[in-house]
Symmetry: C2
């Protein structure tokens, strides 16, 4: 518990970035991606898999450059760089680069290229949704929902699990998690999102509740996915950037999943008119 | 040589599909993707890797459904389904499904999920560009360039290599390939694209030449990539669908790479105005 509270305090700089959002968050997500994908790749050392960090860096720069050009303001660049065409081009270049990596056939294993690709899509691409949300004029405030669902679920599930936990959720992947904790996490996330909505997004309470529910579930999937990777790698934590609190990726494993969820759910619900106005 | 000529004849039904293009080619690419990704996954049997075919099928259906909705004609669906948003959503769902596949942690290896993801992006996503090109009102004729660069390079490189080949290109990956063959393949592809341009696309000769050059190079990368995968899998051919001529993926390994190349090069060059008119 002490660890949880402390790690909460260490997250304070993150809060400032989230409050400022826009380009500050955009740059923060870029830096976070580069650090997190580095930790992810390092985890494969034990398995003797050597993914390509330079390809991941190049692909990340390209993705964020596209994002920048999309938001610089001219209507041409906005429509061009928000089109499927440019995003598909990015995906093609990324996959192509990973396949080229195999051409030194005697030095490199299939796994080296495959982990490079998985790392870019799982870490860099997932995190990119947070940067996009933060740049949105109307939906920018919803970056808070990404953080609230991820950390809210984590903290509420922890307390619910400690106080009431009896039935194991998935003992093979993560032995300490219980069904009571999971339900507590979901309820906690929904309540926190509701409170946030009542204060800041009065016209979008329904969206806040839906996001609180779905975000909480996917947040746990994010947590478990990271656990699976670490189990397969044979490591306990991705790193020790924050002494005693693991690496960047240990802290942000849920954010990686709640960011795309919030991005798609909020965009779809507001497009089909579940809410009319954002404040 | 007999094999090459015969396999050329067996490609005749393909010609009809390419001539009709539009929805026929769209459906053809869909079927081709499902067959090719099946062959790709089966190749990993020897390595005791078990990718998920149902995830690949689901992801392929979703991708082509998006494409269909993009082309049904209403301006809303066209703009919606050609936006980065929907394509990103597809990529997110695909990656998420592959990660979920790992949740049966004791049954499944990391490689099972990773090969699923790589197969979808390498086979299904790459092939999808051919379907998109065929649906384009103005650029539809360029599907021929995909075929000409891929098969033209293959045939010209073969004859140039047989008659003049001396210096090995990459003996470790593919021992028979020579530099003379590669250069012959590039020149042959450029000449064939030029002839095609002179007959059918008089206003876009420059584009035909550029595509002939770049398409030929990437076509060889496509061929070598397939060789690398097969070498790593320890198999000679992906299948025996066409007796004596290997599987679908053996025939289309170059198309997978020339399709995206033609799609991006032609779209970019015609957007920046390298040519004004298509006929």
């Amino acid at each position: 518990m002490k660890t949880r509270v402390l790690s909460g305090l260490i997250m304070l700089p993150l809060l400032i970035i989230i409050i400022l959002r826009g380009w500050v968050l955009f740059a923060g997500c870029f830096a976070l991606s580069l650090l997190a994908v580095y930790e992810f790749f390092r985890g494969f050392k034990e398995l003797d898999i050597k993914p390509s960090y330079p390809i991941a860096v190049g692909s990340t720069i390209l993705l964020y450059l596209m994002g920048m050009l999309c938001f610089v303001g001219t209507s041409f660049s906005t429509s061009m760089f928000s089109s499927a065409f440019v995003f598909m081009l990015w995906a093609f270049i990324t996959v192509f680069a990973c396949l080229l990596y195999l051409f030194k056939i005697e030095e490199r294993k299939l796994e080296d290229a495959m982990v490079t690709l998985v790392g870019i899509f799982y870490v860099v691409f997932f995190c990119y949704h947070l940067a996009l949300l933060g740049m949105d004029e109307f939906l920018g405030l919803t970056v808070w929902l990404v953080v609230i669902t991820a950390f809210g679920t984590d903290i509420c599930a922890y307390f619910a699990g400690v106080t009431m936990g009896k039935h194991k959720l998935c003992p093979v992947i993560s032995p300490k998690k219980t069904w009571e904790g999971a339900i507590g996490g979901i309820l906690g996330s929904m309540i926190l999102c509701l409170i946030f909505g009542l204060i800041f997004m009065k016209h979008a309470i329904v969206i806040c509740l839906i996001v609180g529910f779905l975000g909480s579930i996917i947040s746990m999937f994010g947590d478990l996915t990271a656990s699976i990777f670490k189990r397969k790698m044979g490591i306990k934590d991705y790193g020790n950037l924050i002494p005693g609190h693991g690496g960047i990726l240990d802290r942000f494993d849920s954010i990686l999943f709640t960011a795309p969820l919030v991005y798609y759910v909020v965009n779809i619900l507001s497009t089909i008119g579940v809410t009319g106005a954002w404040n």
